[in-house]
Symmetry: C2
Subunit: 113 residues, 2 copies
């Protein structure tokens, strides 16, 4: 064997770093099915999130080049968020997690009885 394990750990964690955050997956899911959502539209689609937190998570995803922020200098201001091309590469992972999660919830319920 080798010492590659510690490096490998980082590789997976680097993915996890990007999508973990209480609402990031939710945000990404919305932007996957609906490109170009405005700030307020995201707020409405994500009940429970606050402005401060939404802003923060959006900024982080933007930093990581997963989503893009487009500002239209109008009045009132309009800002749209969309997944980047790079962000799209996360799609298969998110879909697998979605699929696994569906089965997991199903299974959890079954295990409760």
């Amino acid at each position: 064997m080798d010492r590659s394990t510690s490096a490998d750990e980082c590789l997976v964690s680097s993915t996890l770093d990007i999508i973990s955050g209480k609402w990031k997956m939710v945000i990404l899911f919305h932007l996957m099915s609906e490109p170009n959502l405005r700030f307020t539209e995201l707020m409405r689609r994500i009940p429970g999130i606050t402005q401060r937190v939404l802003t923060k998570q959006l900024r982080e995803l933007e930093q990581d080049d997963i989503i893009a922020r487009t500002i239209y200098p109008e009045i009132p201001p309009r800002v749209e968020y969309a997944m980047t091309e790079y962000g799209q590469t996360l799609r298969p992972i998110l879909e697998m997690m979605h699929h696994w999660g569906a089965n997991h919830l199903h299974r959890s319920r079954a295990r409760m009885e």
Copy 2:
């Protein structure tokens, strides 16, 4: 469209809940390549983790039926951890994250210059 989005969010998050935790991926990666590791062996393979945290994350993974804990009533005590069959179903996701993460780190470095 429909209102299924809010349910869908939970599905993905339910996967994320299970694998997020600073060291869970690391633990799972070790248990994937080496079935049946003892507590101390895990400690040695995961530099930086403390006993308390390792114990906690192992307990959570056990609760979720991702890993199994086997106690051998010997002196000194021996406890072995292994992935469950159900835990194995996470493997494709972890591998995709590993792959994505590798590319991501590569890309991040490129973007820095």
